[in-house]
């Protein structure tokens, strides 16, 4: 199995490029906490409305610099009253579903979370700019999927 000299150059370049990509995302993810949405917490999908923090969905201030936003997703909307959060503070989103799989996606941000019944998805994000952001569901959830949206106000 002989490799042409140029093929060696090409494969070396390719493998180095892939290693650099992995290095960049790996370091940024694990040393600067830029990991995608996730979490290992579970919940009874039939008892969402009586389980904290989803018994009182909405914004809660945890301390001076941190807010938690609990959201219940369902076909075809979000139970998330009065979504107003400050810019420049860490916002921890916690989302779960009472029925099928949805997403909780905030336009023009890194918040793009799959919402799986029985699981709690967590994502931490800090808004830079105030404004009104569109929230939408980007996982097909039924006839009204395209009607499933909301808005969050950043002040």
């Amino acid at each position: 199995m002989h490799l042409h000299k140029f093929e060696k150059i090409w494969l070396t370049f390719g493998i180095v490029a892939l290693a650099v990509f992995l290095g960049v995302v790996g370091v940024s993810a694990f040393s600067q906490d830029h990991t995608p949405a996730g979490g290992m917490d579970t919940i009874d999908p039939k008892k969402v409305n009586e389980t904290a923090p989803f018994d009182k969905p909405g914004v809660t201030q945890l301390d001076d610099d941190t807010y938690q936003v609990a959201i219940v997703a369902m076909a075809f909307g979000y139970n998330a009253p009065d979504l107003k959060v400050p810019a420049g503070k860490e916002i921890i989103f916690k989302v779960t579903s009472t029925d099928v799989v949805h997403s909780f996606t905030i336009d023009n941000t890194k918040v793009n979370m799959m919402v799986v019944p029985g699981r709690i998805t967590t994502k931490s994000y800090t808004f830079d700019k105030p404004g009104k952001y569109l929230i939408l569901c980007n996982e097909y959830c039924g006839t009204g999927h395209h009607m499933m949206f909301n808005e969050i106000e950043v002040y």
């Binding site: 199995m1 892939l18 995302v25 940024s28 799989v101 336009d107 699981r119 039924g142 395209h146």
Partner: protein, 550 residues
């Protein structure tokens, strides 16, 4: 020409493939018009029903039947005519797959399974939809084992010999397919079917998603590898040269067995229930499967350059002009390859861990698979159709058919370029996939997405319409070459199966020791999946009941 009975099996497979293609592309056309508000559907039909049919019929059914038609023809050509048992099981496999297809399609059309082709629980379709899917898989297994049987017979009578490159690649693809399907068979048989028929009350959603994606990613390689087979084995023949390197071609194929399966989590990067460690481990493995594609890129350009230089091309790029551009069999595949450059690059982005947050479930993903399976794979299949059907029917591929062939691939390229570019840009802006409409009550952000010259509904609709026109031209070519074109009589009219020579004298024998590759593949799968899957089972939340939200 291969044995008449083998030709018949291949032709039936291709016939079903193009029937699915016809219905599937029609659904695609309807979709762009619905999104464009230009079409009102009757009450019994909705967007998501059509979307499900589009995905299932094109991504699963067209590809699978075409692939088996191609495999059957090539295996009969390279290893000799099928024996009676191989033939019998090829027919059984065909009919079982077709039965499953019809069951699933009937359920989709009757609105009992608007669950899209990923059928994520706890959306609950009719139990018969899942039975149909299971039969499709079982049918392909029967067809697969028939081909494996044919190969084993050949090996027994050719002791110590490496098999022809075509057969080697077919067996590689089949091994990959069988291992991959274990995941979807497990979830459909043990989770979906008992749950959909009401024998169990709930389903473990995260487990079902993970088993689906264990299958879902190698599924794309099941589409891609037959296209790579054409690139490695057919293209050199069209160019009048040998396979660039037999051993490297085989090596890249076995690397796909190893690395295309333990990577499914890269479709689940933004969801809960899988820890970051396991997600990232599978991201690393996903990057490994890029390497054989980099090898393939080099082999392809080298094949072009060697051929062009042989024909008198000089300088750095003189060879490029010497390629047989007037041969639609070649030009089609060349365009297919060109589309795979941004297609593959997009795939690297999708798998890049947190970068997935930018593109996940946006229209970017839709654009991505239209320039991977929708063009590199599909247009390679189209390019093969131009000679495969005439080869099997013994009909001519007339001058006017060749011109139509060019019109078809050029319209497909233009349509796809418009549509997929629009989809990629819209996705980066944030527009979601899989939506009938994405106006969100005229929300400002949503309006901005569709404001661009390229990123508006009209571009997508124009692209979609051109694609449909192209598809109809192809259907015309298929019908003509299958039933109506004049029979080839003179030797120069006879359409050949272009299969290049491949020097295997210096190819190491261990490449064809399948147990090595299956062993390593199983090891990698266990390493990547055993712990996270067992965690999903042992620490499962209460399961989900089914929902019919359509």
């Amino acid at each position: 020409m291969i044995a008449a009975q083998d030709r018949k099996i291949a032709l039936w497979n291709i016939g079903v493939a193009y029937t699915a293609f016809l219905i599937g592309t029609l659904c695609g056309l309807l979709q762009v018009f619905i999104r464009n508000d230009a079409l009102q559907l009757p009450a019994w039909l909705d967007y998501y029903q059509i979307l499900t049919a589009h995905g299932v019929l094109l991504a699963l059914i067209f590809t699978t039947f075409f692939i088996f038609g191609f495999f059957i023809t090539g295996m009969s050509k390279s290893l000799g005519a099928f024996g009676p048992k191989v033939r019998l099981f090829s027919w059984i496999g065909f009919w079982v797959t077709l039965l499953g297809t019809v069951m699933a399609t009937v359920m989709i059309v009757s609105g009992e399974a608007s669950v899209l082709y990923t059928f994520y629980a706890p959306l609950k379709g009719s139990g018969w939809f899942y039975v149909g899917l299971a039969l499709v898989i079982v049918g392909t297994w029967i067809s697969s084992f028939a081909l494996v049987g044919h190969y084993i017979v050949w090996r027994k009578t050719h002791k110590g010999e490496l098999s022809p490159l075509f057969a080697f690649m077919t067996i590689t693809t089949i091994i990959l397919w069988i291992i991959a399907c274990l995941g979807v068979v497990a979830t459909v048989l043990f989770q979906y079917i008992p749950w959909a028929f009401g024998w169990t009350d709930t389903i473990n959603v995260e487990l079902s998603r993970s088993l689906f994606w264990y299958f879902g990613h190698p599924l794309v390689y099941f589409w891609l590898l037959p296209a790579y087979m054409a690139w490695y084995v057919i293209v050199p023949k069209l160019l009048g040269v040998k396979v660039f390197s037999d051993s490297l071609a085989r090596l890249s194929f076995v690397l796909f067995i190893l690395f295309s399966i333990p990577v499914g989590f890269h479709h689940q990067l933004t969801e809960p229930g899988i820890s970051n460690f396991w997600k990232f481990l599978q991201v690393v493995l996903t990057f490994m499967v890029i390497i054989p594609s980099l090898m393939t890129a080099f082999s392809m350009f080298a094949t072009f350059e060697i051929s062009g230089r042989k024909k008198g091309g000089t300088g750095l790029f003189g060879w490029f002009k010497k390629l047989p551009w007037k041969d639609v069999r070649f030009t089609s595949i060349f365009i297919a390859m060109a589309f795979f450059i941004p297609g593959g690059a997009g795939g690297i982005i999708n798998a890049s861990f947190q970068l997935n947050e930018v593109v996940h479930n946006t229209l970017w993903i839709v654009g991505h698979f239209h320039i991977t399976v929708g063009t590199p794979v599909a247009m390679t299949f189209m390019g093969m159709t131009f000679w495969l059907i005439p080869y099997l029917t013994g009909r001519k591929f007339t001058k006017s058919m060749q011109i139509l062939g060019f019109v078809q691939i050029i319209t497909w390229s233009i349509g796809m370029l418009l549509m997929s570019t629009a989809q990629h840009v819209l996705g980066l802006l944030g527009a979601p996939r899989r939506t009938a409409y994405s106006g969100y009550n005229g929300h400002e952000s949503a309006l901005e997405w569709f404001d661009g010259i390229l990123t508006n509904h009209v571009t997508m609709a124009v692209g979609g319409s051109i694609l449909f026109l192209s598809a109809m031209i192809l259907i015309y070519i298929v019908v003509m070459t299958m039933f109506l074109s004049p029979k080839a009589v003179k030797p120069e009219e006879i359409v050949e199966f272009p299969m290049a020579e491949s020097d295997k004298e210096s190819t190491p024998k261990w490449l064809e020791n399948w147990w090595i590759w299956i062993g390593i593949a199983v090891f990698l799968i266990v390493a990547a999946y055993a712990i996270p899957l067992s965690h999903m089972i042992h620490h499962a939340p209460p399961g989900s009941e089914g929902f019919k939200t359509w």
